[in-house]
Every structure is written in C-alpha cells, then in structure tokens.
C-alpha cells in the first residue's frame, strides 16, 4: 500500500509539473515548456501505468470492479490519447495544457478515494466488467473531446477579441480543433453506447431500482452527445455551440460517474 501511494503521489507531482511546463509555454514564458512537458507527460504515464499494475497485481484489486481503477483507466486513456494526437499533429501539442491537469485531478481522486468496490453483492459478471470498461473508455474520449473544445473556445476568444499575443500564436487553428473534437466525440459516443447497452442488459437481470436510476442518468448523458452528433453530422453544426454542447455532455457523463462512485 505505501508503495502504491508513493507511486501515485509521484505521478501527481509529474502531472502537475507537466501542466506547469505546458501553461508556461502557452503564455510565452518558457519556450522549452512544450518539449519538457511532453517528456514529463511520458514519465507521468509510466508512473500511472505502474500504479495501475500495483493496484491489480499487488493489491489484488479487480480491474473495472473497484471504482478506483476507473479513474486510473481514464488517466491512462487521456494521456496516451493525447500523446498519440500530439505525435500525429504537432500543432495540437498545446492540448497537454488541459489534459495534464485533468489527469492530475483524476490521479488525486484515485489517491484519496477509499476502497470503493461496486456494491453488487455476488453479481459481478463479465457484462458488468465490460460495461465499466467501455464506459471508462467512452468517458476518456469525451474528456479528450472536451479538452479540445475548451481549446477551441479559448482560441475563438483570442481571435474575436483581437488578442494576438503568445497564446494566439501557440494555439492551433479553429477548424483543426473543431474537427478533432468531433472525431473524439464520435469515438466516445460509439464506445459509450456499447457501455450503455451492456449496462442495461446487466441491470435488467439484477432488477434493482437504484441501478435503473443510474442507467437513466447515463442515458441522459448519452442523449446530449446524440444531439450534438446529430446536428453536427446532419446540419453541419460546428464552432462555438458545438464546443459548448460537448463540454455540457462531458460534464453530464462525469456527473454520472460521480453518482456511480459516491452513491
């Protein structure tokens, strides 16, 4: 346990340092911030992966049954997803300024949370584990879409306010951000839909009203993204409104996760 705590705390420190590097570069204070940030991000990912390994191997915690593993799963998805995107398109590296703090918060939640196994008695089935795994992956994709959307809103504001400082120069173009946010939303939506179907299948067998409430809430979050995607793909909706709706959708999905964890 002390080792897991130590590794997790170190990962948090590295994610925080990563944030500081990216933010300092974003505001034109430290030119090498992005390259150092990327390096720190890699170390953070390795530490998070090691923490996940310790949780599973040493602590004997069942993956995607203990709610803590959801947090660490999200951290890994966000970080690795970001590193892949930044490698493919260097102009999107500044996303790290959003991904790193979110990862630091999730790692902190992992650290401070008590053991929180899903209270489902003996009814842990493959469908449940798959449901939680898919929901985590979907939420990870939505979080990436939201970080990209937040970057879009920031850059839009810079352009509208004619604020042509370092931030304007370092942030990517609006259309690139919009299109990336859409891609993440599509991936997240597909994965989240699978999670929802698995969850409904499992909950129907359990027949517990409290579980059905959670499913309805998840359905609500799913609906927000369904609306976003419908208008984006059907009517060509994009820009500020799409970015705000993506953020709202992710907040809803995160709220569902919160309800799962804390009730």
């Amino acid at each position: 346990m002390p080792m897991l705590t130590g590794v997790t705390a170190t990962a948090i420190v590295f994610y925080t340092a990563t944030t500081a590097f990216y933010v300092s570069d974003l505001f034109g204070q430290f030119d090498r911030g992005t390259s150092l940030g990327r390096f720190a991000m890699w170390i953070s990912v390795l530490l998070a992966a090691f923490a996940a390994f310790l949780t599973y191997q040493v602590e004997g915690v069942q993956v995607f049954v203990d709610t803590r593993t959801v947090f660490i799963g999200l951290v890994l998805l966000l970080s690795v997803g970001y590193l892949a995107v930044a490698k493919a398109d260097r102009s999107l590296q500044m996303l790290g300024a959003f991904i790193a703090p979110v990862s630091a918060i999730l790692m902190s939640a992992f650290l401070i949370m008590q053991y929180g196994e899903v209270r489902v008695g003996e009814r842990i089935t493959a469908a449940l584990v798959a449901h939680i795994a898919f929901a985590t992956a979907g939420l990870g994709a939505f979080a990436l879409a939201s970080c990209t959307a937040a970057l879009y809103l920031l850059q839009e504001r810079m352009i509208r306010e004619r604020s042509f400082g370092p931030l304007f120069h370092r942030l990517p173009g609006l259309e690139d951000l919009d299109s990336l946010s859409l891609k993440f939303t599509i991936v997240g939506f597909v994965v989240f839909t699978v999670a929802l179907v698995l969850g409904i299948t499992w909950a129907a067998r359990i027949d517990e009203s409290v579980l059905m409430l959670r499913i309805y809430l998840s359905g609500g979050a799913w609906l927000v993204f369904a609306v976003v995607l419908y208008f984006r793909l059907r009517s060509g909706w994009r820009g500020t409104q799409a970015a705000w709706l993506t953020l709202i959708g992710t907040v809803s999905a995160t709220a569902v996760l919160g309800i799962y964890v804390f009730t």
Binding site: R162, G173, Q241
Partner: protein, 442 residues
C-alpha cells in the same frame, strides 16, 4: 601585433538615407573599391556589405588605427565628404565588438525589420564577391562562416523570424488560425487592389487551392485572373461565390458596403456553418462590421491586420534578446578559435626546428658511418620521428590550451627557449595559409 577584425560603417540606425546613398557602393564597383583599399597593405582582408540600409566594411589588419585611417581617407575621397561627416554618421568596431556586430547583422538583429530573411543572403553575396576576388583570408573566412552559422542558429533556436510582419502576410496568419491548414481552401478576392492581390499570392503560396476574382470591371478581373491563375466574375456573382469561398479578401474603392448581414445571413446555413474568413483591406470598408456577430464568421479590417503585425514585431524584439545571448556565445567561440590559432605558427616553427636537427644529425651519422645499411638508416629516422612526436606532444597541447587565456607569454617563452625565428617561413602570421578555411556553415 596580432591581426583583428575591424568594422567601419553606417546604417539606418546612425545615418539618414541621404548619407547612406552618398556612401553606397554599387555591386559592380565593389571589387575595384576593395582593390584600392587593400593596395597599401594596411588592410589584409576586406569585405564590403552595401545594402539599402547599411554600408559596412569588414576588414582585418595588424594596426587597427591605420586601417581606420586608411578607410576614412579612401572613402571620404570616394564620397566627397570630410572627416567630420564620417564621425557624425559612422561607427567603428574593433575585435570582439566588430565580430559581434557582424554576427548581429547576418542574423538580422540589426535590421530595420528584425528577423527579415534577406540580409543573410546579402551578407553571403558580399562575402562571396570578396572571396572570389581574393580579398579574404583565414580570419575573415572564419568570421563570415561563423556569422552564417550564427544566423542559422538564431533562426532555428529563436522565433525571431517567425510570424508575419507585413499586412499582406498577416492575412495568411489569420487564415491559419481560423482553418489550421490552408490546403483545399477556396479564396475569393473582391476588387483588384494591390494589397489584396499580394495577400492572395501569399495565401496561394501557403497552400490555398483556388481563386475566384470578382470585380466591377471585367477586363481587370480577367487580367488578375490570368495573373493569379483564377476565374474572373462580375460583382453580381458575389452571393453565389461567397457560398463556396472559405476566405474572402476585399479591396475595392466602393463607397458603400458590398457585403452586409442581409447578404451573408442566408448563406450561413447554406454553407453548412463552415467558417468564413473575411478580410477587408479597403478604406472605406467593403464589409459591414456587424457581419462579425454572425456565427462562424470572422471579419478583420486593415486595423486588425496592423494589430497582428505590431504584436508580431513586439514578439520579434523579445526574441531578439534571446538571439543576443546566442551571439555572445558564438563571439566567445570564435575568440577561442582565434586564440588557438595564434599558437599554430610557433608549433609549426618548433616542429620544423626539431626536424632540421633530425635531418642534420642523420646526415652526420650517414657520413661518419658509411657501412650503415639503408634499412638501419630508415629505422633510425623512424625512431627520430617518433621521439620528436612524443617530445612535442605535451608542449603542443600546453600551447593550445594556454592560448585560451593569454597566449603571448608562453609563446614568447617557447620562441625564446628554442630560438625560433620567423625568417623564411610563411607561417609567421597567426592566420597563415596553413590554417584551413572552415567548412561552410561553421
């Protein structure tokens, strides 16, 4: 006395254009000017950099006062000005200060527009002219190659040359911030103004796909279309063209708005909310400023473009401070090379002296022992060579290392101990022909 770099010149910072044009030297007269300047052997090497913003002579010589005097004397007679004129407008840098100035010039840190890319090419041309005519030697060769290396470092390691500093290029920068990449983007230019045309050229160079030209006068539209490789239209086609366009640049002489909300609003949904960038370079403006309140419409006028340019200029000046640090580092690096090179003639002389001793002793040995076989003589010679190399190894290193601080005492001591003289030796100058010319770029 050791040679040093001396730089005499005037620039936009010290002299008005009237003074600069008085001293400007035509490209075709540069070689002749260099020949005249170097004929009295006061100046050993010289390069003249003459651009619209500066006229500078970079020279090397053993007596910098005489070099300066010679340059003032020659140039004042050439330009028909007196010494007072020179003192008012020109600057003289010697040694480190001269090298630092040369590095700053070639890195565009001393330019009117900091970071402009032309200056390094102009310095390269000036150096090339002089080198081909035989007016450069090891010192200036090294200094100029080092200057090009500094320029490259500054360009790669700082953002001094990044971001637009012209109104027309600012349009490209804004387009990149709206669209990210310009590949496949369609440009519509309304009017045939010069600035608008220039902006379109930059957009096409940056990857924009196609151009439509809408103009009141069809023949002018046709001419511009031929020039830019676009398609000409009349102004009545504006709504249809705007439905397809991603970037619209207007620069007409119209006294009323050509594009307003009633025209643009119905297009938004028809365009499937694709962003549209409107750049209005015209004064009075061609686009109603209220258009910007529409969704996914980004409108910039000439003042906005100027703001981009001003902001970029400020950033370039901030980056120039980082570049100055690179310049300082490289001045030190060049100094180290110069110091090390000062020991070379002494090392060469020392080796030659020992070789002479070896030759004489071998000759004496052969003369006194006629029975010695050829093989024995060769073995003895190899032994001598090996001894010389081993004996000289440590003194050579000591001489090279000592020169990084103050070379003179040790060099003098070695010369005195071994009674080394410069007679009949072309390596008597610190920068002899035995010093190889540096590789380009370093």
């Amino acid at each position: 006395m050791d040679r040093e770099v001396i730089l005499i010149g005037l620039s936009h910072k010290t002299a008005p254009i009237e003074a600069r044009e008085q001293l400007a030297i035509d490209e075709f007269n540069i070689v002749e000017t260099l020949r005249d300047l170097c004929e009295r052997s006061v100046i050993d090497e010289a390069v003249i950099i003459s651009t619209c913003n500066r006229v500078e002579l970079v020279a090397s010589g053993s007596d910098s006062d005489r070099v300066v005097h010679r340059v003032f004397e020659y140039l004042s007679s050439l330009a028909g000005v007196d010494r007072e004129w020179f003192e008012r407008y020109t600057y003289v840098h010697r040694g480190d200060a001269a090298v630092r100035h040369l590095f700053k010039v070639s890195s565009s840190l001393d330019s009117l527009v900091v970071g402009e890319p032309q200056i390094v090419g102009q310095v390269k041309n000036a150096y090339d002219h002089s080198r081909r005519a035989g007016f450069t030697g090891p010192l200036l060769n090294r200094a100029f190659h080092h200057a090009f290396h500094v320029s490259k470092r500054v360009r790669n390691e700082t953002a001094v040359a990044q971001n637009a500093v012209s109104i027309s290029y600012a349009a490209v920068e804004l387009a990149r911030k709206v669209f990210g990449h310009l590949e496949g983007k369609r440009v519509l230019v309304v009017g045939a103004g010069e600035m608008g045309t220039l902006a379109v050229r930059h957009l096409l160079q940056a990857g924009a796909d196609s151009v439509d030209i809408a103009n009141r006068s069809q023949p002018r539209a046709q001419r511009l279309a031929d020039d830019l490789g676009g398609v000409p239209y009349g102004l009545e086609s504006l709504p249809a063209l705007m439905e397809e366009a991603d970037i619209v640049i207007t620069s007409t002489g119209s006294q009323r708005y050509l594009i307003d909300q009633p025209l643009l609003k119905p297009l938004i949904a028809r365009r499937k909310y694709r962003p549209i960038l409107l750049i209005d370079i015209a004064v009075p403006r061609d686009i109603d400023p209220r258009c910007e309140s529409l969704q996914n419409v980004y409108l910039f006028d000439v003042d906005d473009l100027d703001k981009v340019v001003q902001s970029n200029m400020r950033q370039r000046h901030a980056e120039a401070q980082k570049a100055e640090r690179i310049v300082d580092e490289e001045v030190s690096a060049l100094n180290r090379w110069i110091s090390t090179t000062e020991a070379v003639p002494t090392i060469v002389l020392l080796r030659e002296k020992l070789n002479e001793v070896k030759e004489a002793e071998l000759e004496r040995l052969v003369r006194s022992n006629r029975t010695l076989s050829r093989e024995t003589v060769e073995i003895t010679e190899r032994l001598c060579n090996s001894l010389i190399n081993k004996i000289l190894h440590d003194p050579t290193i000591s001489l090279r290392e000592a020169t990084e601080d103050d070379p003179a005492p040790l060099i003098r001591a070695v010369r005195s101990l071994f009674r080394l003289t410069d007679d009949d030796n072309d390596s008597n100058t610190p920068f002899s022909a035995k010093t190889p010319e540096p590789e380009p770029g370093r």
